[in-house]
Symmetry: D2
Subunit: 446 residues, 4 copies
């Protein structure tokens, strides 16, 4: 995403007030003393990376769009002893949620000395009195082992709740910083909360940590859990490949997560390079016809007698009729089930071709999202949480912690909610998939 037209306003985060409190972290502000350094308020991470474009922009006199750089400040907004923090996790499970929760608690407690930390149960529901779910005091001792577990220690749920009621809860509990871990719905909810606390003039910082196993938050290079997800997904690919090799005319078909964005499917296919066809939502394809998927699959089988197919759950939605589709609690449109659909259509096609195939269909589903975070994701979650705490203590609000050009950043919620991130069919990731699978660049008849 080489957007050059973002204004400084679009990249700025809301600031609750001046930073007058000395940070208790005791870090350094100079190099060479063997003590790690603070980050300055005006440190940035530039959005672009292409030298030509950057030079052109600067010479044109444009302001170079850049994110606020994440990190601890030497002066902060809140007095740690008075801070009351709350943590909420929403939406579907994703590897690393517990790492984030634990690291938030540890960073608040040990680095800043915050003692009052509250866990909101079962997502936004936990703010609502009708559900009668009491918040839980979070201490290092309580959370010390949860990073080894998948799932969410706090529980989660789908769907929004009334913003006013949530802010009432925050005020009643005298919360200073709210950490909201969730995906697009949650971050829209967080933006609403941020707007409402601003409207009411409350000194509450709202900090999001983007959680989407589909990796579809824009202006954030990668979201936590993605690496773990595609690592676990390779087990399904290995299984599909083994099954395909083990029977005459073997076809292994794997459905992976990815409602609108095929990052898991694309990466998993690169991680275990035994896949012949990767189908993702971003790249349409035809089933029938001489250049359609089925004909190409037949050709592959004729040559090698086995094939492995990976389909993201949102792939090929254009193949389903325009049925009225229901939505789930989070407002996600119900997708047609591409896995079962392909399974039936492939079966039917080869029956018609009188070709003897043995198809095995694997839908690992929850097996992928419920595992504990693998090592690199654990590192990432830890750092996201540290930076979320730094943001909150500084009095930044209305942001998510992101990553860009390998640097941690603070991204305004409005920007993170502005679109969806896709696998670009023109870009490097998809090119790597095409090269690695050898699949035809286009599987359409026109």
């Amino acid at each position: 995403m080489e957007h050059i037209d973002l204004t400084p306003e679009q990249l700025a985060v809301r600031i609750l007030g001046e930073a007058r409190v000395d940070s208790p972290l005791g870090l350094s502000s100079r190099d060479g003393d063997f003590i790690a350094n603070y980050v300055a308020d005006d440190d940035t991470v530039v959005l672009l990376h292409d030298g030509k474009k950057i030079e052109a922009a600067v010479k044109r006199g444009d302001s170079l769009p850049a994110f606020v750089k994440a990190g601890p400040r030497d002066k902060i907004f809140f007095s740690p002893r008075r801070v009351r923090a709350a943590i909420v996790t929403c939406g579907g499970l994703c590897p690393g949620i517990n790492n984030v929760i634990r690291a938030l608690v540890m960073e608040l407690h040990y680095s800043y000395g915050v003692e009052s930390i509250w866990g909101v149960p079962y997502g936004f529901r936990g703010f609502i009195k009708d559900y009668g779910l009491p918040a839980r005091r979070l201490t290092p001792d309580l959370v010390k082992g949860i990073h080894e577990l998948g799932g969410s220690f706090l529980g989660s749920s789908r769907g929004p709740q009334p913003t006013a009621a949530i802010v009432d809860w925050l005020r009643e509990k005298e919360i200073s910083i709210l950490f909201a871990i969730g995906g697009d719905g949650t971050l829209r909810g967080a933006a609403d909360i941020d707007a409402e606390v601003a409207r009411r003039g409350l000194a509450v910082s709202v900090v999001g940590i983007p959680k989407t196993i589909d990796n579809d938050i824009p202006y954030v290079e990668k979201t936590f859990g993605l690496e773990t997800a595609f690592a676990v997904a390779t087990e399904a690919i290995r299984s599909a490949h083994t099954e395909a090799l083990g029977a005459p005319g073997g076809i292994g078909l794997v459905k992976l997560m990815g409602r609108y964005s095929g990052f898991i499917a694309a990466n998993a296919a690169l991680a275990l390079n035994e896949v012949n066809f990767v189908l993702i939502p971003e790249v349409p394809f035809d089933l029938e016809g001489p250049k359609g998927f089925l004909a190409l699959l037949k050709q592959r089988l004729s040559e090698k007698d086995h094939a492995v197919i990976v389909a993201a759950e949102g792939a090929g939605q254009e193949l389903f009729g325009k049925r009225d589709r229901a939505s789930d609690n989070s407002g996600n449109r119900k997708l047609g089930d591409i896995g079962l659909f392909l399974k039936e259509r492939i079966r039917g096609y080869f029956a018609g071709e009188a070709m003897d195939v043995t198809m095995k269909y694997i839908d690992p589903s929850y097996l992928i999202r419920s595992v504990a975070a693998h090592a690199a994701d654990a590192v990432y979650c830890l750092q996201l949480a540290q930076h979320a705490v730094h943001a909150g203590m500084r009095g930044y609000s209305g942001l998510v912690v992101g990553r860009w050009n390998g640097q941690f950043t603070y991204v305004p919620l409005a920007l993170a909610n502005s679109a969806r991130k896709f696998v670009s069919p023109d870009g490097e990731l998809w090119r790597a998939v095409l090269e690695a699978t050898g699949q035809p660049y286009r599987m359409t008849n026109e």
Copy 2:
């Protein structure tokens, strides 16, 4: 590393000649056609990421230092049918070597149609007639399963061999592209080979893929195998933590790789956040004295009755006397064994303090470097290999494939050989370690 003073010459790669051959890849050069795109010869990846510094540099009229962007070109230098490629792997094992070998073969064969690919056995030795090791023809069928295995399918060895003899071999075998997978010694060897083929006027492209489990190649964000290494290292940390918890006064001490750079130790400690002290070569510490490591360890044990220590193998070298140290075949200076040293000194110290401790020492050594690459490293290796092939086919030479700001780059060998990359004691990674472990920022008495 925010070096602003690199000149365009320092960042340029050697080019064998004009690109007159149409690429057989059949990619696209325009957006929106659902076909992935070529990269242009003048696409770059800028070195800096801080907006203020970039703007200052451009306004000052400085040329903005930037890497050549990696990727397939629509015009290439070599005619694929005439290409003869050779692959060599040198130095110690590292997770992902086989992924790189396999992907080089697959990319050469399937994407470019190169049919003559040779595997050089046991490192640079394989070029030398005296060893009598014949090169081996590499085909997709031969290498198709090796990505599931650790180690090097070609075998490896340490140490340089005469450059002239290597170039003789290349000429005799009519090699067009040499892929050298190895660490600093290997890349210096590759630079020598590149200079010698240039001197002799041979149309040979020398392309390096940096392999160092210590992640210490400069101008390359991360080297393959690092993630796998610190993931496996967490098992040693988990074990050390379990042992420390299981006995009165339990101390778990883990030695990890990292001769000069503590990336594995730092990342492993973040990945499994059960570590209380991380010792890396970049940050000196005292053993004795009121603010030394031993006194601080005692304090930790008094408070919590268990402690976990991770030491990179190169940590604390200043604690050893200035003995004349031998070097291994690769010219690596022999280090004092910090693991055994600490084990003895800790034991002695607590004996002196009459404190009852139970110490368990774990040195996972080869267990870490010999495993197969985990998923994210497998993706990375695959892409490094694809870009190495693109560089070679384009006729670029004297470079390594790198990554910067999340983009693949071509880095001149001279630059990659110019220094060593360290964990900056002032930087973000070390700061994350300090926050996550709670260890004192300085463990020295001054």
Copy 3:
């Protein structure tokens, strides 16, 4: 199974002829020389283990039923140099098939010096000329790495083929020993082959290695792959438990293999003791009614707000109507899909009860059977293969290699084909499940 009424005839294996050839193994026949020993032809493993029953039987003058003990004999039937062996794998995949294939080849080649070993492709089909599948020469070099892979290196297929044609093939290829790795259908086929070679007077040994992931071969304590299968199945249970904990009213439902016998489900529930209900084919249950499963599930949720259910695929078949059910190629009756059935019925029930539940359904299917064998299964496969070779070289035929009372045995095919092994509802395994899950002993209304 405490069958006391088996006759010596029922327990005897067919013997091709006298053992006149000295074994090339060079083992010992005496204790204390630090060399492992041969097994004598009349060594046995008694069927019973209850002291009272044994004493009663012996005193009554009954012959004590006992299996032939497996192991190498000092005199064998076949001259190793003249032996031509064939290996075939049939039916569904199971962890460990490749370990067995590899160990057969290694034992034949290295221990006995057999040089002519043939792999029959894709199951019994590989014997049939119409399929045009050539057998493949198996050497140590070819199979040396396959134990690290799941699946079958030879490929497999379902269904019988004409016995006469198979025996024609054996005679034409001058096979001396046929190793058949497969489940009940395969072993019935092997029995037919054994009868036919006997009828034709051919000196061919037919040796089975029982392969059924469901562990349902009688007179064999456990079949290979079972441990690996239930180990992998625990990942599905962990996932189901994590999901159940992560949402209000969380229900995790896991379908596991087990068409007629619930060994995988029972063992998996013991291996990861987070399961509240285990449903197996051997123990019928009601869905509806005050003591039915649904009411008990509701009670569990009221108490703990989450529940985990494991259903073997053959469980609750009595709940489906007596529809005419088709059969697959191996003659297996198509089962009703208990997983989807329960999913729908549970959903409907709680909708009716106006209770807010969040159900996650996990069907790991092929993910379980296609993995490589875990360590203990690898040991078991290796030993099964060694004993299979010992049986063949001795000229024993019409048997499978089994295990009883912790000893390896040779079990006549007729016995192994005589019934199916079940989880006894009266026995120890089921009792352990009841104690460990706390599920009601009976979930029926009568």
Copy 4:
């Protein structure tokens, strides 16, 4: 072990008194009702399995030696509501300890309704007032997650403590059943405790669960943790094999646990059949000389250019001088370090032979014993704990829960303490190793 000469007295367990209380388990005593059954007090598991020997013994009029069969009785000794249970874990860590602790608590609490369960901290030390370690109330909620963790939730320590003081503690706390999880030292301690409570006339049941990763308790087929241990050990073997393949003249040397008994080494070598030499304490070997290990290793390298060696830590002790050796707290004699010894001697030998070898030495040590139990061990631990509770509730004492002929048994402590179990050089396991590795049967010069 085919000991026929055990008397009924030697096989009997101590019984605290008559079983007058109805078991709360509500199991069945008849077949066919779909409810699992109780075990009768006189059910046994016969010691022998060879039909000939059994028949001979019975005909000779000998009483057939048999173990008491483990399992729940319909009448028990203790009133569950009045029971106070204590659990202690001693000695080194072993995979599965936490599974046993958890299952003891769950079985006592949920199956029998025992509410007072105490965890003794840090082994036998926890009974001693001087250490000031308070016991901890164990509840299902407290232990529900510990089966996923390695180590001991209670902590452990080595070495005995005064029996009288321990029994004082038991009486003071009014303990009815003591569960002692430990190895030979612990079980001798338990026998002393059992004798002392008997002498004092206390109604205390002492039940041992044998814990020894070396699997060296006699009359117990296998101890928990063994399977997990050799499974993890295969990772070291895989690493050694990878390293050996990766370098010219590659030697991979792995040291595994096994002070007196080589079960881990033997099984690991079978589980990953890439090992060429297995050295165990039970089979002596020479280093030097034409038939010694070094010469045979050289021969192997000449043929294949790589070799993998697995040495149990107690192997080759006869090669060390008769130095006075110290003992650790548990009274274990300090062994010479065979790993480092072999490493030096191999290096020296090949230096002398002017042969270019590359040796990698791997000592996985605590990495093996500190992991969580794998699935089959988890099942085994669960069942051992269930049977331990059944024994205690029945008022059996002075026993360990064992396994024989695939059945759970109660083995008198005196018998379990009477000897050490070894890998028999004449037996099946060692024979399997010899066949699978191809190593010479004897490596001695005489």
